[in-house]
Symmetry: C2
Subunit: 164 residues, 2 copies
DNA sequence: CACAAATATTTTAAGTTTGAAATATCTTCG
DNA sequence: CGAAGATATTTCAAACTTAAAATATTTGTG
């Protein structure tokens, strides 16, 4: 019964109105997401001489001050392992993060902010938040809450099945 | 400086609750967007042996059966000119689109679906819609409408100055 | 007409991203 | 112990992406 209401629901061989509404919703998410990401990328580049993916890694590490493994980073950011390797390489070259060995497991390493990385990110995060708030300045408090609620129902449905 | 409500509004030097709610909303948009895009990319790859960017180009051309210029394509998809060049090159190699000369302007070219491109896309679009509907199966009709409305207010704010 | 400016597209260099293969290390179990 | 499998990460090739430079063509102006 995972049948989507497409061919079964309505009688015709057209897809259903609900299916079309969901598609429109998805396309609108994509549109907003691209537009905002483009604006933020440009600001990052001009104001910080940096990039969004690097900011994302710094943000994750700022939340976990003791550092994270590469695998934790890639899971948290929902990007591939190989991807994180390259970003972290560049952040290491910039002196914003370090790779530390893990006691008892020489395969793994912990990535951690340096002092410079912490300081830089703390400053950038405030500016970043103000950029976002400006880009979303038409979003009222109640609409923000509604938006978050609706998007959460979508993410939860597609949550990775946790293996215990 | 063009200070947003951050430092000025509240009295403390913290950013405002509204600003934080907007940031959370943005991060949630990003999360859903990445998750869904990842799922769709995987399905495109496995089921169609293709990619999302190519699907996006085909979709744009399917809406404009007479074809589009490279610049129209890149504007419509909100990606750079150079980007579209590469995607179209590959679609040409696959025989799904063609580049046609433009009367009276030898700088430009029109990109148009071939018959094979039209046929392929028509089939894929139906399957794609059902994938999206499944991924959004927790999204009710009224929530879909609310989501679309809220996201539109955001896009409109950041709309490029229009020329219809 | 000549030639500067504008426009349409491609090329290029650098970075991001993926999925798969390769490495290195750890763990399990016969 | 030692091989087989599992796990953590990196490497690799291909594709995508951008911003900027280059190319080709058209348009506007004197």
């Amino acid at each position: 019964m995972d049948n989507s209401q497409g061919l079964a629901g309505q009688g015709g061989n057209e897809t259903s109105d609900l299916s079309k509404a969901r598609l429109r919703a998805w396309l609108q998410i994509l549109k907003v997401s691209r537009k905002i990401e483009g604006e933020l990328r440009e600001k990052m580049r001009v104001e910080f001489g940096s990039t969004l993916p690097r900011f994302d890694v710094l943000a994750a590490l700022y939340r976990e001050r003791d550092g994270m493994r590469m695998s934790e980073l890639s899971k948290s950011l929902m990007v591939s392992n190989g991807n994180v390797t390259g970003i972290v390489d560049r952040l290491v070259a910039e002196g914003l993060v370090v790779r530390l060995p893990v006691e008892n497991d020489r395969r793994a390493s912990i990535v951690r902010l340096t002092e410079a990385g912490e300081k830089d990110f703390a400053e950038r995060a405030l500016v970043h938040e103000s950029w976002v708030s400006d880009l979303f300045s038409d979003l009222s408090s109640s609409d923000a809450d509604a938006l978050i609620r609706i998007l959460r129902t979508i993410s939860h449905h597609n949550e990775a099945p946790h293996h215990d």
